[in-house]
Amino acid sequence: MRFLFKTHYNQDIDHFKHGGDRFWYGLLLVLAAAAPAALGTFYLGELNLVMIYAIAGVGLMLLVGYTGQVSLGHAAFLAIGAYTHSLLLGAGLPFLLSIVAAVLVSALVGAGVGWIALRMTGIYLAIATLAFAMLTEQTISRAEWLTGGFRGLAVPQPSLFGMPLTQGWQRYYLTLALLVVTLFAALNILRSSTGRAMVAIRDSEISAESVGINLAVYKTFAFALSAGITGLAGALFAHRLGYLSPDAFTFLISLQLLLMVVVGGVGSMRGVIYGALFIGFLPQLLAIARDTLPPQIAQAPGLEPGIFGLILVLVILFEPQGIFGRWLKIKSYFQLFPLYRGATHRRQKTYLRTERLR
Protein backbone atom coordinates (compact mmCIF):
# COMPACT_ATOMS: atom_id res chain seq x y z
CA MET A 1 0.00 0.00 0.00
CA ARG A 2 1.31 3.39 -0.94
CA PHE A 3 1.33 6.15 1.64
CA LEU A 4 1.76 9.63 0.27
CA PHE A 5 3.61 12.21 2.29
CA LYS A 6 2.03 15.46 1.28
CA THR A 7 4.00 18.64 1.65
CA HIS A 8 2.05 21.02 -0.54
CA TYR A 9 -1.59 21.65 -1.43
CA ASN A 10 -0.59 21.41 -5.09
CA GLN A 11 -0.31 17.67 -4.58
CA ASP A 12 -4.05 17.51 -4.05
CA ILE A 13 -4.69 19.64 -7.12
CA ASP A 14 -2.40 17.86 -9.60
CA HIS A 15 -3.90 15.27 -11.94
CA PHE A 16 -1.12 12.80 -11.28
CA LYS A 17 -0.76 12.18 -7.57
CA HIS A 18 2.62 10.49 -7.59
CA GLY A 19 5.40 9.11 -9.77
CA GLY A 20 3.60 5.81 -10.22
CA ASP A 21 0.62 7.58 -11.78
CA ARG A 22 2.87 9.46 -14.15
CA PHE A 23 4.68 6.27 -15.15
CA TRP A 24 1.60 4.13 -15.81
CA TYR A 25 -0.36 6.79 -17.65
CA GLY A 26 2.75 7.62 -19.67
CA LEU A 27 3.14 3.96 -20.55
CA LEU A 28 -0.53 3.77 -21.53
CA LEU A 29 -0.09 6.76 -23.82
CA VAL A 30 3.02 5.23 -25.39
CA LEU A 31 1.15 1.98 -25.97
CA ALA A 32 -1.80 3.83 -27.45
CA ALA A 33 0.55 5.75 -29.71
CA ALA A 34 2.27 2.53 -30.78
CA ALA A 35 -0.99 0.69 -31.50
CA PRO A 36 -1.12 1.50 -35.27
CA ALA A 37 2.20 -0.28 -35.71
CA ALA A 38 0.99 -3.41 -33.97
CA LEU A 39 -2.68 -3.69 -34.93
CA GLY A 40 -4.30 -4.54 -38.26
CA THR A 41 -6.70 -2.20 -40.01
CA PHE A 42 -9.79 -3.82 -38.54
CA TYR A 43 -8.77 -3.68 -34.90
CA LEU A 44 -7.29 -0.22 -35.31
CA GLY A 45 -10.65 0.89 -36.64
CA GLU A 46 -12.40 -0.74 -33.71
CA LEU A 47 -10.02 0.96 -31.27
CA ASN A 48 -10.74 4.25 -33.00
CA LEU A 49 -14.46 3.63 -32.44
CA VAL A 50 -13.82 2.80 -28.79
CA MET A 51 -12.08 6.14 -28.36
CA ILE A 52 -14.93 7.97 -30.08
CA TYR A 53 -17.30 6.27 -27.65
CA ALA A 54 -14.99 7.29 -24.83
CA ILE A 55 -15.21 10.97 -25.83
CA ALA A 56 -19.00 10.77 -25.89
CA GLY A 57 -18.79 8.89 -22.59
CA VAL A 58 -16.78 11.69 -20.97
CA GLY A 59 -19.57 14.05 -21.98
CA LEU A 60 -22.30 11.83 -20.62
CA MET A 61 -20.33 11.03 -17.46
CA LEU A 62 -20.06 14.72 -16.59
CA LEU A 63 -23.84 14.94 -16.79
CA VAL A 64 -24.91 11.60 -15.30
CA GLY A 65 -22.02 10.68 -13.02
CA TYR A 66 -21.08 14.09 -11.71
CA THR A 67 -24.18 16.29 -11.99
CA GLY A 68 -26.68 13.50 -11.38
CA GLN A 69 -28.87 14.33 -14.39
CA VAL A 70 -29.81 11.19 -16.29
CA SER A 71 -30.03 11.45 -20.06
CA LEU A 72 -31.42 8.79 -22.34
CA GLY A 73 -31.11 11.01 -25.38
CA HIS A 74 -27.45 11.56 -26.00
CA ALA A 75 -27.63 9.97 -29.44
CA ALA A 76 -29.33 13.22 -30.44
CA PHE A 77 -26.24 15.27 -29.57
CA LEU A 78 -24.09 12.74 -31.37
CA ALA A 79 -26.34 13.22 -34.41
CA ILE A 80 -26.32 17.00 -34.15
CA GLY A 81 -22.52 17.01 -33.96
CA ALA A 82 -22.21 14.61 -36.88
CA TYR A 83 -24.65 16.44 -39.15
CA THR A 84 -23.36 19.92 -38.30
CA HIS A 85 -19.81 18.85 -38.96
CA SER A 86 -20.63 17.11 -42.26
CA LEU A 87 -22.77 19.95 -43.56
CA LEU A 88 -20.20 22.62 -42.70
CA LEU A 89 -17.36 20.54 -44.07
CA GLY A 90 -19.41 20.09 -47.24
CA ALA A 91 -19.91 23.86 -47.38
CA GLY A 92 -16.14 24.28 -47.49
CA LEU A 93 -15.30 25.17 -43.90
CA PRO A 94 -11.82 24.00 -42.76
CA PHE A 95 -11.83 20.80 -40.73
CA LEU A 96 -10.88 22.27 -37.35
CA LEU A 97 -13.33 25.18 -37.61
CA SER A 98 -16.05 22.79 -38.59
CA ILE A 99 -15.37 20.60 -35.55
CA VAL A 100 -15.43 23.63 -33.28
CA ALA A 101 -18.72 24.70 -34.85
CA ALA A 102 -20.16 21.20 -34.32
CA VAL A 103 -19.19 21.38 -30.64
CA LEU A 104 -20.71 24.84 -30.26
CA VAL A 105 -23.98 23.96 -32.01
CA SER A 106 -24.36 20.79 -29.92
CA ALA A 107 -23.58 22.72 -26.74
CA LEU A 108 -26.15 25.36 -27.65
CA VAL A 109 -28.85 22.77 -28.27
CA GLY A 110 -27.77 21.02 -25.07
CA ALA A 111 -28.14 24.26 -23.14
CA GLY A 112 -31.64 24.63 -24.58
CA VAL A 113 -32.63 21.11 -23.57
CA GLY A 114 -31.07 21.54 -20.14
CA TRP A 115 -32.90 24.80 -19.60
CA ILE A 116 -36.24 23.34 -20.62
CA ALA A 117 -35.66 20.26 -18.45
CA LEU A 118 -34.66 22.25 -15.34
CA ARG A 119 -37.71 21.25 -13.34
CA MET A 120 -37.36 17.57 -14.10
CA THR A 121 -35.26 15.04 -12.24
CA GLY A 122 -34.65 11.32 -12.28
CA ILE A 123 -36.92 9.18 -14.41
CA TYR A 124 -38.89 12.18 -15.72
CA LEU A 125 -35.72 13.77 -17.01
CA ALA A 126 -34.73 10.49 -18.66
CA ILE A 127 -38.10 10.37 -20.43
CA ALA A 128 -37.84 14.01 -21.50
CA THR A 129 -34.38 13.50 -22.99
CA LEU A 130 -35.59 10.32 -24.68
CA ALA A 131 -38.41 12.31 -26.24
CA PHE A 132 -35.92 14.92 -27.37
CA ALA A 133 -33.82 12.22 -29.06
CA MET A 134 -36.89 10.88 -30.88
CA LEU A 135 -37.74 14.39 -31.96
CA THR A 136 -34.24 14.96 -33.28
CA GLU A 137 -34.28 11.69 -35.19
CA GLN A 138 -37.63 12.57 -36.75
CA THR A 139 -36.52 16.09 -37.60
CA ILE A 140 -33.40 14.82 -39.32
CA SER A 141 -35.36 12.30 -41.38
CA ARG A 142 -37.99 14.89 -42.40
CA ALA A 143 -35.68 17.81 -43.16
CA GLU A 144 -34.61 16.30 -46.46
CA TRP A 145 -33.61 19.65 -47.96
CA LEU A 146 -30.86 19.89 -45.36
CA THR A 147 -29.94 16.40 -44.26
CA GLY A 148 -31.03 14.28 -47.21
CA GLY A 149 -33.37 12.37 -44.90
CA PHE A 150 -33.16 8.63 -45.34
CA ARG A 151 -31.36 9.05 -48.65
CA GLY A 152 -28.41 9.93 -46.47
CA LEU A 153 -25.64 12.47 -46.44
CA ALA A 154 -22.14 11.70 -47.65
CA VAL A 155 -19.48 12.86 -45.21
CA PRO A 156 -16.69 14.76 -47.00
CA GLN A 157 -13.15 13.50 -46.55
CA PRO A 158 -11.40 15.28 -43.69
CA SER A 159 -8.15 17.09 -44.23
CA LEU A 160 -5.95 18.85 -41.73
CA PHE A 161 -3.88 21.85 -42.90
CA GLY A 162 -4.15 20.66 -46.51
CA MET A 163 -3.20 17.08 -45.65
CA PRO A 164 -6.02 14.64 -46.40
CA LEU A 165 -6.82 12.28 -43.52
CA THR A 166 -7.72 9.13 -45.39
CA GLN A 167 -5.59 6.50 -43.67
CA GLY A 168 -6.87 4.62 -40.61
CA TRP A 169 -3.84 5.53 -38.52
CA GLN A 170 -4.24 9.25 -39.26
CA ARG A 171 -7.80 9.20 -37.97
CA TYR A 172 -6.72 7.09 -35.04
CA TYR A 173 -4.18 9.69 -33.96
CA LEU A 174 -6.70 12.50 -34.45
CA THR A 175 -9.19 10.72 -32.20
CA LEU A 176 -6.52 9.88 -29.65
CA ALA A 177 -5.38 13.51 -29.47
CA LEU A 178 -8.94 14.77 -29.07
CA LEU A 179 -9.69 12.14 -26.42
CA VAL A 180 -6.67 13.22 -24.38
CA VAL A 181 -7.65 16.88 -24.71
CA THR A 182 -11.25 16.08 -23.71
CA LEU A 183 -10.16 14.06 -20.70
CA PHE A 184 -7.90 16.82 -19.45
CA ALA A 185 -10.59 19.44 -19.98
CA ALA A 186 -13.13 17.32 -18.08
CA LEU A 187 -10.73 16.62 -15.23
CA ASN A 188 -9.85 20.32 -15.08
CA ILE A 189 -13.50 21.20 -14.72
CA LEU A 190 -13.87 18.59 -11.99
CA ARG A 191 -11.00 19.96 -9.88
CA SER A 192 -12.31 23.52 -9.97
CA SER A 193 -15.28 25.21 -8.36
CA THR A 194 -17.49 24.52 -11.40
CA GLY A 195 -16.99 20.76 -11.06
CA ARG A 196 -17.55 20.89 -7.33
CA ALA A 197 -20.79 22.78 -7.91
CA MET A 198 -21.89 19.97 -10.25
CA VAL A 199 -21.10 17.33 -7.63
CA ALA A 200 -22.96 19.42 -5.06
CA ILE A 201 -26.07 19.44 -7.24
CA ARG A 202 -25.81 15.68 -7.65
CA ASP A 203 -25.64 15.02 -3.93
CA SER A 204 -28.00 17.59 -2.45
CA GLU A 205 -29.76 20.29 -4.38
CA ILE A 206 -31.01 22.04 -1.30
CA SER A 207 -27.64 22.53 0.31
CA ALA A 208 -26.08 23.37 -3.04
CA GLU A 209 -28.51 26.28 -3.16
CA SER A 210 -27.71 27.22 0.41
CA VAL A 211 -24.00 27.61 -0.30
CA GLY A 212 -24.83 29.94 -3.17
CA ILE A 213 -24.88 27.61 -6.18
CA ASN A 214 -27.36 28.71 -8.80
CA LEU A 215 -29.01 25.43 -9.76
CA ALA A 216 -30.45 26.68 -13.04
CA VAL A 217 -27.13 28.04 -14.26
CA TYR A 218 -25.05 25.00 -13.34
CA LYS A 219 -27.54 22.43 -14.58
CA THR A 220 -27.81 24.22 -17.90
CA PHE A 221 -24.04 24.52 -18.06
CA ALA A 222 -23.60 20.83 -17.33
CA PHE A 223 -26.03 19.98 -20.12
CA ALA A 224 -24.26 22.29 -22.54
CA LEU A 225 -20.82 20.94 -21.65
CA SER A 226 -21.99 17.36 -21.92
CA ALA A 227 -23.74 17.97 -25.23
CA GLY A 228 -20.75 19.83 -26.63
CA ILE A 229 -18.36 16.98 -25.84
CA THR A 230 -20.81 14.45 -27.23
CA GLY A 231 -21.09 16.63 -30.35
CA LEU A 232 -17.33 16.41 -30.73
CA ALA A 233 -17.61 12.62 -30.62
CA GLY A 234 -20.42 12.92 -33.17
CA ALA A 235 -18.19 14.81 -35.60
CA LEU A 236 -15.58 12.04 -35.39
CA PHE A 237 -18.30 9.40 -35.58
CA ALA A 238 -19.45 10.93 -38.89
CA HIS A 239 -16.08 10.17 -40.46
CA ARG A 240 -16.20 6.68 -39.08
CA LEU A 241 -19.64 6.12 -40.70
CA GLY A 242 -18.79 7.90 -43.95
CA TYR A 243 -22.46 8.19 -44.77
CA LEU A 244 -25.03 9.70 -42.39
CA SER A 245 -28.63 8.67 -42.09
CA PRO A 246 -31.08 9.08 -39.21
CA ASP A 247 -31.11 5.38 -38.40
CA ALA A 248 -27.47 5.58 -37.32
CA PHE A 249 -28.59 7.59 -34.27
CA THR A 250 -31.38 5.51 -32.80
CA PHE A 251 -32.42 4.88 -29.24
CA LEU A 252 -30.01 1.97 -29.16
CA ILE A 253 -27.07 4.37 -29.37
CA SER A 254 -28.40 6.42 -26.45
CA LEU A 255 -28.81 3.23 -24.48
CA GLN A 256 -25.28 2.14 -25.34
CA LEU A 257 -23.88 5.45 -24.17
CA LEU A 258 -25.72 5.24 -20.87
CA LEU A 259 -24.70 1.60 -20.54
CA MET A 260 -21.09 2.62 -21.04
CA VAL A 261 -21.26 5.13 -18.20
CA VAL A 262 -23.04 2.76 -15.82
CA VAL A 263 -21.00 -0.35 -16.62
CA GLY A 264 -17.75 1.60 -16.49
CA GLY A 265 -18.54 3.09 -13.11
CA VAL A 266 -20.66 6.15 -12.40
CA GLY A 267 -18.61 9.03 -11.05
CA SER A 268 -15.20 8.17 -12.41
CA MET A 269 -13.42 9.16 -15.60
CA ARG A 270 -11.48 5.92 -15.71
CA GLY A 271 -14.80 4.15 -15.73
CA VAL A 272 -15.60 5.88 -19.02
CA ILE A 273 -12.62 4.20 -20.66
CA TYR A 274 -13.51 0.79 -19.24
CA GLY A 275 -17.09 1.29 -20.36
CA ALA A 276 -16.03 2.35 -23.85
CA LEU A 277 -13.88 -0.77 -24.21
CA PHE A 278 -16.80 -2.85 -23.04
CA ILE A 279 -19.30 -1.25 -25.42
CA GLY A 280 -16.84 -1.23 -28.30
CA PHE A 281 -16.01 -4.91 -28.12
CA LEU A 282 -19.34 -6.30 -26.93
CA PRO A 283 -20.82 -6.40 -30.48
CA GLN A 284 -17.76 -8.41 -31.58
CA LEU A 285 -18.33 -10.84 -28.76
CA LEU A 286 -22.01 -11.07 -29.66
CA ALA A 287 -21.11 -11.73 -33.28
CA ILE A 288 -18.85 -14.56 -32.22
CA ALA A 289 -21.49 -15.90 -29.85
CA ARG A 290 -24.08 -15.83 -32.61
CA ASP A 291 -22.17 -18.42 -34.57
CA THR A 292 -22.41 -20.91 -31.74
CA LEU A 293 -25.98 -20.20 -30.61
CA PRO A 294 -29.00 -22.03 -32.08
CA PRO A 295 -30.45 -19.97 -34.95
CA GLN A 296 -33.80 -19.40 -33.20
CA ILE A 297 -31.97 -17.33 -30.59
CA ALA A 298 -29.12 -15.99 -32.71
CA GLN A 299 -31.43 -14.62 -35.41
CA ALA A 300 -34.04 -13.28 -32.98
CA PRO A 301 -34.83 -9.64 -33.65
CA GLY A 302 -33.84 -7.28 -30.88
CA LEU A 303 -31.24 -9.62 -29.46
CA GLU A 304 -28.63 -6.90 -29.14
CA PRO A 305 -30.74 -4.25 -27.38
CA GLY A 306 -32.15 -7.01 -25.20
CA ILE A 307 -28.70 -8.04 -24.07
CA PHE A 308 -27.67 -4.42 -23.54
CA GLY A 309 -30.73 -3.84 -21.36
CA LEU A 310 -30.11 -7.04 -19.42
CA ILE A 311 -26.50 -6.08 -18.71
CA LEU A 312 -27.61 -2.62 -17.58
CA VAL A 313 -30.07 -4.13 -15.11
CA LEU A 314 -27.60 -6.70 -13.82
CA VAL A 315 -24.86 -4.14 -13.30
CA ILE A 316 -27.17 -1.74 -11.46
CA LEU A 317 -28.35 -4.60 -9.23
CA PHE A 318 -25.06 -6.28 -8.46
CA GLU A 319 -22.24 -3.82 -9.04
CA PRO A 320 -23.65 -0.29 -8.96
CA GLN A 321 -20.13 1.12 -9.09
CA GLY A 322 -19.41 -0.65 -12.35
CA ILE A 323 -16.09 -1.99 -13.56
CA PHE A 324 -14.20 0.82 -11.86
CA GLY A 325 -15.80 0.02 -8.51
CA ARG A 326 -14.97 -3.67 -8.95
CA TRP A 327 -11.38 -2.71 -9.72
CA LEU A 328 -11.16 -0.62 -6.54
CA LYS A 329 -12.41 -3.59 -4.53
CA ILE A 330 -9.90 -5.96 -6.08
CA LYS A 331 -7.15 -3.44 -5.50
CA SER A 332 -7.99 -2.93 -1.84
CA TYR A 333 -8.29 -6.70 -1.40
CA PHE A 334 -4.65 -7.09 -2.33
CA GLN A 335 -3.54 -3.94 -0.51
CA LEU A 336 -5.13 -5.05 2.74
CA PHE A 337 -4.43 -8.76 2.34
CA PRO A 338 -5.16 -10.74 4.47
CA LEU A 339 -7.24 -8.21 6.39
CA TYR A 340 -9.84 -7.38 3.73
CA ARG A 341 -13.40 -7.76 4.93
CA GLY A 342 -16.44 -8.13 2.72
CA ALA A 343 -18.14 -5.31 4.60
CA THR A 344 -15.46 -2.76 3.72
CA HIS A 345 -17.29 -1.59 0.64
CA ARG A 346 -20.82 -2.30 1.74
CA ARG A 347 -23.09 0.58 0.94
CA GLN A 348 -24.11 2.46 4.01
CA LYS A 349 -27.60 3.45 4.86
CA THR A 350 -28.08 7.15 4.55
CA TYR A 351 -29.18 9.07 7.56
CA LEU A 352 -32.31 11.15 7.56
CA ARG A 353 -32.42 13.65 4.78
CA THR A 354 -34.46 16.74 4.32
CA GLU A 355 -36.14 15.62 1.09
CA ARG A 356 -39.48 16.80 2.38
CA LEU A 357 -38.39 20.37 1.67
CA ARG A 358 -38.98 19.72 -2.02
Binding site: Y9, N10, I13, N188, I189, R196, A197, S204, V211, G212
Partner: protein, 253 residues
Amino acid sequence: MSYLAVEDLSISFGGIRAVDHVSFDVEEGEVFAIIGPNGAGKTTLFNLVSGIYFPDGGSVRFAGRDITSLPAHRIAPLGLARTFQNIELFEHATVLQNLLIGRHVHRRSSALSHLLFLPAVRREELEHRRRVEDVIDLLELAHYREQRIANLPYGVRKVVEVGRALCLEPKLLLLDEPTAGLNPEESEDMGFWIEDINRDLGVTVVMVAHDMGLVSRVAGRVLALNEGRVIAEGSPADVQKNPAVVDAYLGAD
Protein backbone atom coordinates in the same frame (compact mmCIF):
# COMPACT_ATOMS: atom_id res chain seq x y z
CA MET B 1 -31.85 49.17 12.36
CA SER B 2 -31.05 45.67 13.57
CA TYR B 3 -28.77 43.28 11.74
CA LEU B 4 -31.41 40.69 10.98
CA ALA B 5 -34.93 42.08 11.15
CA VAL B 6 -37.81 39.67 10.72
CA GLU B 7 -41.14 41.44 10.57
CA ASP B 8 -44.60 39.99 10.61
CA LEU B 9 -43.50 36.86 8.74
CA SER B 10 -46.19 34.32 7.81
CA ILE B 11 -46.50 31.20 5.72
CA SER B 12 -49.21 28.56 5.40
CA PHE B 13 -49.08 25.07 4.05
CA GLY B 14 -52.62 24.19 3.07
CA GLY B 15 -54.72 25.03 6.12
CA ILE B 16 -51.81 25.07 8.54
CA ARG B 17 -50.24 28.37 9.51
CA ALA B 18 -46.69 27.13 10.08
CA VAL B 19 -45.37 30.60 10.84
CA ASP B 20 -47.88 33.15 11.99
CA HIS B 21 -46.93 36.85 12.09
CA VAL B 22 -43.53 36.30 13.66
CA SER B 23 -41.30 39.31 14.32
CA PHE B 24 -37.92 39.48 15.98
CA ASP B 25 -34.63 41.36 15.71
CA VAL B 26 -31.11 40.02 15.98
CA GLU B 27 -28.31 42.46 16.77
CA GLU B 28 -24.87 42.20 15.22
CA GLY B 29 -22.52 39.99 17.22
CA GLU B 30 -25.03 38.22 19.46
CA VAL B 31 -26.04 34.59 19.81
CA PHE B 32 -29.77 34.32 19.42
CA ALA B 33 -31.64 31.08 20.12
CA ILE B 34 -35.05 29.99 18.92
CA ILE B 35 -36.79 27.33 20.99
CA GLY B 36 -40.15 25.67 20.91
CA PRO B 37 -41.78 22.26 20.95
CA ASN B 38 -41.91 20.04 17.86
CA GLY B 39 -43.90 21.57 15.04
CA ALA B 40 -43.59 25.08 16.43
CA GLY B 41 -42.29 26.38 13.09
CA LYS B 42 -38.63 26.87 13.96
CA THR B 43 -37.18 25.13 10.90
CA THR B 44 -39.80 26.71 8.65
CA LEU B 45 -38.72 30.08 9.99
CA PHE B 46 -35.12 29.25 9.03
CA ASN B 47 -36.21 28.18 5.58
CA LEU B 48 -38.02 31.47 5.16
CA VAL B 49 -35.01 33.50 6.24
CA SER B 50 -32.55 31.57 4.07
CA GLY B 51 -34.69 31.79 0.95
CA ILE B 52 -35.78 28.18 0.57
CA TYR B 53 -39.42 29.11 1.17
CA PHE B 54 -41.00 32.41 0.26
CA PRO B 55 -43.39 33.90 2.84
CA ASP B 56 -47.07 34.68 2.29
CA GLY B 57 -46.55 37.96 4.11
CA GLY B 58 -44.03 39.97 6.08
CA SER B 59 -40.42 40.81 5.41
CA VAL B 60 -36.86 39.78 6.22
CA ARG B 61 -34.09 42.37 6.24
CA PHE B 62 -30.45 41.41 6.58
CA ALA B 63 -27.73 44.03 7.05
CA GLY B 64 -30.10 46.73 5.88
CA ARG B 65 -31.15 44.88 2.74
CA ASP B 66 -34.55 43.37 1.98
CA ILE B 67 -33.97 39.67 1.30
CA THR B 68 -37.58 38.51 1.55
CA SER B 69 -37.93 37.54 -2.07
CA LEU B 70 -34.33 36.54 -2.84
CA PRO B 71 -33.72 32.85 -3.63
CA ALA B 72 -31.27 30.89 -1.47
CA HIS B 73 -28.37 31.07 -3.89
CA ARG B 74 -28.52 34.86 -3.87
CA ILE B 75 -28.76 35.13 -0.11
CA ALA B 76 -25.64 33.05 0.59
CA PRO B 77 -23.25 35.51 -1.12
CA LEU B 78 -24.53 38.28 1.17
CA GLY B 79 -22.90 36.49 4.10
CA LEU B 80 -25.68 34.29 5.42
CA ALA B 81 -24.86 30.60 5.87
CA ARG B 82 -26.92 27.82 7.38
CA THR B 83 -26.90 24.20 8.46
CA PHE B 84 -29.74 21.69 8.30
CA GLN B 85 -31.46 19.81 11.06
CA ASN B 86 -31.13 16.47 9.27
CA ILE B 87 -27.67 17.05 7.75
CA GLU B 88 -27.51 17.85 4.08
CA LEU B 89 -23.94 17.12 3.10
CA PHE B 90 -22.59 16.01 -0.25
CA GLU B 91 -22.47 12.33 0.64
CA HIS B 92 -20.28 11.00 -2.13
CA ALA B 93 -17.61 13.64 -1.76
CA THR B 94 -14.83 13.89 0.83
CA VAL B 95 -14.84 16.23 3.80
CA LEU B 96 -12.31 18.41 2.00
CA GLN B 97 -14.47 18.65 -1.11
CA ASN B 98 -17.52 19.46 0.99
CA LEU B 99 -15.68 22.30 2.65
CA LEU B 100 -14.32 23.53 -0.69
CA ILE B 101 -17.87 23.59 -2.07
CA GLY B 102 -18.61 25.91 0.84
CA ARG B 103 -16.18 28.37 -0.77
CA HIS B 104 -18.36 28.61 -3.87
CA VAL B 105 -19.45 32.19 -3.25
CA HIS B 106 -15.81 33.29 -3.16
CA ARG B 107 -14.94 31.95 -6.63
CA ARG B 108 -13.53 34.54 -9.01
CA SER B 109 -12.65 32.64 -12.18
CA SER B 110 -15.02 31.61 -14.96
CA ALA B 111 -15.98 28.12 -16.07
CA LEU B 112 -14.05 28.65 -19.29
CA SER B 113 -10.80 29.23 -17.41
CA HIS B 114 -11.59 26.10 -15.39
CA LEU B 115 -11.58 24.04 -18.60
CA LEU B 116 -7.99 25.13 -19.20
CA PHE B 117 -7.05 25.34 -15.52
CA LEU B 118 -5.08 28.53 -16.06
CA PRO B 119 -2.43 29.51 -13.48
CA ALA B 120 -4.85 32.02 -11.97
CA VAL B 121 -7.27 29.19 -11.26
CA ARG B 122 -4.56 27.23 -9.47
CA ARG B 123 -3.68 30.26 -7.35
CA GLU B 124 -7.34 30.65 -6.49
CA GLU B 125 -7.64 26.96 -5.60
CA LEU B 126 -4.64 27.25 -3.27
CA GLU B 127 -6.20 30.27 -1.61
CA HIS B 128 -9.49 28.37 -1.10
CA ARG B 129 -7.56 25.46 0.33
CA ARG B 130 -5.75 27.66 2.86
CA ARG B 131 -9.06 29.08 4.06
CA VAL B 132 -10.56 25.61 4.27
CA GLU B 133 -7.58 24.39 6.31
CA ASP B 134 -8.23 27.20 8.81
CA VAL B 135 -11.73 25.82 9.30
CA ILE B 136 -10.38 22.26 9.54
CA ASP B 137 -7.99 23.42 12.28
CA LEU B 138 -10.71 25.25 14.15
CA LEU B 139 -13.12 22.31 14.14
CA GLU B 140 -10.41 19.63 14.53
CA LEU B 141 -11.41 17.80 11.34
CA ALA B 142 -7.86 17.08 10.10
CA HIS B 143 -8.26 13.39 10.83
CA TYR B 144 -11.27 13.10 8.53
CA ARG B 145 -10.05 15.35 5.70
CA GLU B 146 -9.87 12.71 2.97
CA GLN B 147 -12.84 10.61 4.07
CA ARG B 148 -16.10 10.39 2.24
CA ILE B 149 -19.10 11.69 4.14
CA ALA B 150 -20.91 8.38 3.62
CA ASN B 151 -18.29 6.68 5.82
CA LEU B 152 -18.40 9.18 8.68
CA PRO B 153 -20.29 8.84 11.94
CA TYR B 154 -23.22 11.11 12.62
CA GLY B 155 -21.44 13.33 15.13
CA VAL B 156 -18.64 14.17 12.72
CA ARG B 157 -21.11 14.96 9.94
CA LYS B 158 -22.77 17.51 12.20
CA VAL B 159 -19.40 19.23 12.66
CA VAL B 160 -18.56 19.05 8.94
CA GLU B 161 -21.81 20.80 8.18
CA VAL B 162 -20.95 23.64 10.51
CA GLY B 163 -17.53 23.70 8.85
CA ARG B 164 -19.03 23.98 5.39
CA ALA B 165 -21.16 26.89 6.54
CA LEU B 166 -18.06 28.57 8.01
CA CYS B 167 -16.24 28.21 4.69
CA LEU B 168 -18.64 30.77 3.25
CA GLU B 169 -17.03 33.21 5.71
CA PRO B 170 -20.51 34.21 6.80
CA LYS B 171 -21.50 37.26 8.81
CA LEU B 172 -24.62 35.51 10.06
CA LEU B 173 -24.82 31.79 10.74
CA LEU B 174 -28.11 29.94 11.06
CA LEU B 175 -27.68 26.66 12.94
CA ASP B 176 -30.64 24.31 12.84
CA GLU B 177 -30.38 22.10 15.94
CA PRO B 178 -26.58 21.91 16.04
CA THR B 179 -26.60 19.40 18.89
CA ALA B 180 -29.52 17.17 17.89
CA GLY B 181 -28.47 13.53 18.13
CA LEU B 182 -25.06 14.27 19.63
CA ASN B 183 -23.83 12.67 22.82
CA PRO B 184 -23.16 14.94 25.84
CA GLU B 185 -19.45 15.24 25.08
CA GLU B 186 -20.04 16.15 21.42
CA SER B 187 -22.73 18.62 22.48
CA GLU B 188 -20.33 20.31 24.82
CA ASP B 189 -17.71 20.60 22.05
CA MET B 190 -20.33 22.07 19.77
CA GLY B 191 -21.18 24.60 22.47
CA PHE B 192 -17.53 25.67 22.69
CA TRP B 193 -17.27 25.96 18.94
CA ILE B 194 -20.37 28.11 18.74
CA GLU B 195 -18.83 30.40 21.35
CA ASP B 196 -15.54 30.48 19.39
CA ILE B 197 -17.30 31.20 16.12
CA ASN B 198 -19.22 34.00 17.75
CA ARG B 199 -16.42 35.55 19.78
CA ASP B 200 -13.27 34.93 17.75
CA LEU B 201 -14.65 35.05 14.22
CA GLY B 202 -17.22 37.71 15.04
CA VAL B 203 -20.06 35.80 13.43
CA THR B 204 -23.60 36.52 14.53
CA VAL B 205 -25.32 33.23 15.33
CA VAL B 206 -29.00 32.37 15.24
CA MET B 207 -29.72 28.83 16.35
CA VAL B 208 -32.64 26.55 16.78
CA ALA B 209 -32.16 24.35 19.81
CA HIS B 210 -33.91 21.97 22.12
CA ASP B 211 -31.04 21.63 24.51
CA MET B 212 -31.76 24.25 27.19
CA GLY B 213 -28.35 23.68 28.77
CA LEU B 214 -26.67 24.76 25.56
CA VAL B 215 -29.05 27.67 25.12
CA SER B 216 -28.45 29.10 28.57
CA ARG B 217 -24.71 28.70 28.13
CA VAL B 218 -24.16 30.35 24.77
CA ALA B 219 -27.25 32.37 23.87
CA GLY B 220 -27.75 35.95 24.91
CA ARG B 221 -31.40 36.11 24.01
CA VAL B 222 -34.07 33.52 23.34
CA LEU B 223 -37.25 33.52 21.29
CA ALA B 224 -39.87 30.91 22.09
CA LEU B 225 -42.32 29.78 19.42
CA ASN B 226 -45.39 27.63 19.64
CA GLU B 227 -47.73 26.72 16.81
CA GLY B 228 -46.10 29.30 14.59
CA ARG B 229 -46.50 32.21 17.02
CA VAL B 230 -44.07 34.00 19.30
CA ILE B 231 -44.91 33.22 22.91
CA ALA B 232 -41.91 34.72 24.70
CA GLU B 233 -38.70 36.61 24.12
CA GLY B 234 -35.90 37.56 26.48
CA SER B 235 -32.93 36.19 28.39
CA PRO B 236 -32.67 32.38 28.65
CA ALA B 237 -33.56 32.40 32.34
CA ASP B 238 -36.61 34.59 31.85
CA VAL B 239 -37.94 32.62 28.92
CA GLN B 240 -37.51 29.34 30.77
CA LYS B 241 -39.64 30.68 33.62
CA ASN B 242 -42.27 32.17 31.36
CA PRO B 243 -45.60 30.44 32.07
CA ALA B 244 -46.55 30.37 28.37
CA VAL B 245 -43.34 28.49 27.57
CA VAL B 246 -43.86 26.03 30.39
CA ASP B 247 -47.41 25.45 29.14
CA ALA B 248 -46.22 24.91 25.57
CA TYR B 249 -43.74 22.25 26.60
CA LEU B 250 -45.64 20.55 29.41
CA GLY B 251 -49.22 21.36 28.47
CA ALA B 252 -51.52 23.72 30.34
CA ASP B 253 -53.41 22.29 33.27
